[in-house]
């Protein structure tokens, strides 16, 4: 498996777009991790009524917002919020979806029918709407936002993993392992998860970017991360008020979303091509 | 000497990508008369399909290069024809049957439509729609498919039937030359025989010349007038079917091919496969390209390209017989 990763990385290195994406996302992650050291002003929630709506300048790179806070600082701290949200929700939904999908595929029969029926029904509700209704039931706030977008993301993972499991379970070596009396969870762990890694990694990369977009949309509607916490969607929602007077307020948080989503998509595309050279066009 | 229908002279074809150059065909020459059948045999990857596609100019435009050679069809060099003229040659004068009937038909068009299209694009005589539809019916029945199935889609046909449809498309305009690229490889053995018999029959009926690409020597014996044995983009041996099956001198590769099929008359414990693999076409051995696998390899073979030994119609490119051209010619 290790060799496999090396091989995949070697193939990815040839893909310029994917490498650009990888560099950008690494930079964004570093920014998020070291946000406190990079940002010129202290954690960007302190208000300063004297410095409201200053246009970008050398002291305030991205200008200041309606409350006199440094936008550059807030964008940088926003990276932390958005990336964490994207990563955590993807991780939980991958594990949750993975368990459901693996069980459905491995045990088959009624359990499979039941799980897939439920997931199919959930998928009939568009992601955004499902997340909205969960937020509506639980109330807004970062924790509930996390739950909402995680749940809406579980069916996708479950389906992918089920498909992988189904294709593997048919193989003779699984029969052999079963015949030897290997425990179920061990078979799932040793044989199936390893084979499913590729599709999961691709889906996870794509999912992080989708989750960032979804979280930003909900926050933009005022139903996700609540002000004054710095989050890109929330910042855009606040910026709307000053659209006429301070259009730059809208540009930077939006650009930050585009940049992180774009770089993740590039990496995802690159991974897909590297894992399955056949599909490369 | 009357003008040959098809003459291929010194044809070379390469595939060039950023990373490497594949030497697919390396100087082959042959000629074909009306109604004649040439068999080209060889392993997968010998360049047979590439050579065939080049006659129709269907090689992938982005990578394929033809640095040398001529393909003369009725005296005209096809390689120099403008694309529009070439298009009217395709399907009308030269047709091709592809290897896999399962994927060779468009899944969302009826078989009737697909045959009709061949006629519609070569409608020089100004047939009406009804006349062309009637021709579609005729052609279908020619290949043994009832005309009632005209409105059916490819997925409703079995493999053998699909190949009949493919043949019907190729023969719809009664071409002078038919190129069949392993037409029966993908079919069951019993169906293979049927399809081959039908092709033979039609060939005689329509007096079509044919290039039959195959790796089945049995098929060659049944259908061909001449045979070329292809290895790594070259014809290592060329001759009439009679030459190939009865002459006592052969290229070691041809011997190898014969050694790897069962023979009813000679008792052997096991078949004699040819050792090794086809050379990498991006990095062909110098000298004789078969030398790394040749059981009779000599010093000279790895250094110098073999000359051609000729005996009547029989040509062999091998050092074993060099110097004997004069005495036997």
């Amino acid at each position: 498996m290790k060799q496999n990763f090396k091989e995949i990385f070697r193939r990815m290195k040839k893909n310029k777009a994917a490498m650009i994406g990888l560099v950008i996302i690494t930079l964004i992650i570093l920014t998020a991790v070291f946000a406190d050291f990079i940002s010129p002003y202290e954690y960007g929630i302190k208000q300063n009524s004297k410095e409201r709506l200053l246009p970008p300048s050398s002291t305030h790179l991205f200008g200041t917002d309606g409350n006199g806070r440094d936008v550059f600082t807030r964008v940088i701290h926003g990276a932390r919020t958005s990336l964490t949200l994207g990563l955590v929700t993807t991780l939980i939904s991958a594990v949750g979806g993975g368990v459901l999908g693996a069980c459905a595929g491995y045990y088959g029969g009624r359990l499979d029918d039941f799980i897939m029926r439920v997931l199919d029904t959930i998928m009939c509700i568009p992601n955004m709407l499902l997340a909205l209704s969960i937020v509506a039931a639980l109330g807004s706030g970062i924790g509930n936002l996390l739950i909402a977008i995680t749940i809406s993301n579980i069916p996708v993972f479950a389906r992918i993993i089920r498909a992988v499991v189904l294709s593997i379970v048919e193989n003779d070596y699984i029969e052999a392992a079963k015949a030897c009396g290997t425990r179920d969870w061990r078979i799932i762990h040793r044989h199936i998860l390893k084979n499913a890694m590729g599709p999961i990694v691709i889906q996870a990369t794509m999912s992080i970017s989708k989750m960032i977009l979804l979280a930003a949309s909900l926050s933009f509607l005022g139903l996700g991360v609540q002000p004054p916490a710095p989050e890109w969607g929330t910042m855009l929602s606040e910026a709307r008020e000053f659209m006429r007077r301070a259009p730059y307020l809208m540009i930077f948080p939006g650009a930050a979303i585009v940049l992180s989503v774009l770089s993740l998509n590039l990496v995802g595309d690159g991974l897909r091509d590297a894992l399955d050279p056949r599909l490369k066009s | 000497m009357s003008e040959k229908l098809l003459q291929v002279k010194n044809l070379e074809i390469q595939y060039k990508t950023d990373l490497e150059t594949v030497y697919a065909v390396n100087g082959i020459s042959f000629a074909l008369d009306k109604g004649e059948t040439l068999g080209i045999v060889g392993e997968t990857g010998a360049g047979k399909t590439t050579a065939a596609l080049s006659i129709l100019r269907l090689l992938p435009e982005k990578t394929a290069r033809i640095p040398k050679g001529e393909i003369l069809f009725r005296g005209e060099n096809l390689l120099l024809k403008p694309e529009a003229e070439m298009r009217s040659t395709r399907g009308e004068q030269i047709s091709m049957i592809f290897q896999d009937p399962m994927t060779s038909l468009n899944p969302i068009l009826t078989v009737g439509d697909q045959i009709f299209e061949a006629l519609a694009f070569h409608n020089d005589t100004g047939m009406t729609r009804e006349q062309m539809e009637a021709r579609v019916d005729e052609t279908l029945e020619l290949v043994g498919i009832p005309r009632s199935r005209k409105r059916d889609y490819p997925h409703q046909f079995s493999g053998g039937m699909k190949q009949r449809v493919v043949i019907a498309i190729a023969l719809a305009c009664e071409p002078e030359l038919l190129i069949a690229d392993e037409p029966t490889t993908a079919l069951d053995v019993t169906i293979q025989a049927q399809v081959l018999a039908m092709m033979n029959d039609l060939k005689h009926k329509l007096n079509t010349a044919m290039i039959l690409i195959t790796h089945d020597l049995g098929i060659v014996a049944q259908t061909c007038d001449h045979v070329a044995v292809m290895y790594a983009g070259e014809f290592v041996e060329y001759g009439s079917v009679f030459d190939l099956f009865t002459a006592d001198k052969h290229h070691p590769y041809t011997d190898g091919l014969f050694g790897s099929i069962p023979n009813l008359e000679v008792e052997t414990d096991r078949l004699q496969p040819i050792d090794g693999l086809m050379p990498d076409p991006t990095d062909l051995p110098s000298g004789c390209k078969f030398s790394p696998r040749c059981p009779k390899c000599m010093d000279i073979c790895t250094k110098q390209k073999p000359t051609t030994y000729q005996n009547g119609t029989h040509r062999i490119a091998c050092h074993l017989y060099s110097g004997k051209e004069v005495e036997e010619a």
Binding site: D120, I122, C124, I125, L130, L132, V135, L138, R244 | P107
Partner: protein, 311 residues
């Protein structure tokens, strides 16, 4: 074929029930007291208890769901809005057409843009046109629709003053919202069309068509395009679903009085019945679209058509 359509329509019933059940369960997690929400802070405990009994709040969950379904099916009764005290259905029904129009316009324009540019990109693979459209598609696939909408407002409404930025009164009003939905989604369609088209032109039957002497134009449009379209059609159903979700946000950006902005307001007001009914209505609609796409697919692809014709 008609039997197949009927069968599929019948199979919709459990799906719709399932969707209703999920939304209903989620919404019943909402804390709070419906009677309190309706009657307000000043109501007495007696009044509250009476209304709660009347609403069936104290009934077991499944009974409540059953009553809800029966009311919806027989009377189109989704309950009363906590906020306006009016029947929810009346409220959402007047708003639904706006959302629907926006989503349909979005699907139409995103498929026209995505499919046509995707096909030309594939035909002219590696050309400057292809490179530029591929890069733009990558970019727009990463742009949040609501931000793109705000940028459009900034440019066309505020800076240039060419187009209105609020509401949906005239045809002009539709331009910016439609664009901000259609362009980001067209990016995904473009990428899919391009790759399936590239995949299709490599198929054996395209070579057969070439060997027949068919012209390039016919090969592209009759042979390749029609086959490449099949996976794109399947995808369009999903795009429509995402688009319905996207419309919710776009409506807020452009202050359009549709179902989406209504949901957002209802969530802020904690008006659970309105949220539930709106989400359900949109989800039902999405299910119908998926069904329509499936039927369309069966109609276009003879392989599937034949499979069902025999049944």
């Amino acid at each position: 074929m008609i039997r197949y359509v009927l069968k599929r329509l019948l199979l919709m019933i459990p799906v719709l029930l399932g969707v209703a059940f999920i939304v209903f369960s989620v919404m019943s997690l909402a804390p709070g007291d419906p009677a309190r929400a309706i009657l307000g802070e000043n109501a007495t405990q007696e009044q509250l208890d009476m209304l709660n009994t009347q609403l069936g709040v104290d009934q077991p969950f499944l009974i409540r769901f059953g009553t809800f379904v029966v009311n919806v099916v027989t009377k189109l009764d989704f309950g009363l809005s906590y906020n306006s005290q009016r029947p929810v259905f009346d409220e959402i029904f007047t708003r639904f057409p706006y959302t629907l129009r926006l989503a349909v316009l979005g699907v139409i324009f995103s498929s026209i843009i995505g499919i046509s540019i995707g096909v030309f990109s594939a035909i002219k693979q590696y050309s400057p046109f292809d490179t530029i459209s591929t890069i733009l598609a990558l970019f727009f696939a990463s742009v949040p629709g609501f931000w793109f909408g705000m940028m459009l407002i900034l440019l066309f409404a505020l800076q240039l003053g060419l187009l209105p930025s609020n509401g949906l009164d005239t045809v002009k009003h539709y331009i910016l919202p439609t664009l901000s939905i259609a362009i980001p989604y067209s990016a995904g369609i473009l990428r899919l069309t391009r790759s399936t088209m590239l995949e299709t032109v490599r198929q054996d039957y395209i070579r057969t068509a070439k060997a027949k002497g068919v012209t390039e134009w016919v090969i592209i449009w009759k042979h390749a395009f029609r086959n490449a379209l099949l996976p794109v059609i399947t995808q369009l159903g999903n795009v429509f679903g995402q688009l319905l979700g996207g419309a919710v946000v776009i409506e807020t950006v452009f202050a359009i009085p549709g179902l989406g902005s209504h949901i957002v307001n209802a969530i802020r007001m904690k008006d659970t019945p309105v949220v539930m009914a709106s989400v359900m209505l949109l989800a039902f609609f999405f299910c119908l679209v998926i069904l329509a796409v499936d039927l369309l697919y069966a109609f276009v692809d003879p392989r599937i058509k034949a499979k069902y014709a025999r049944r």
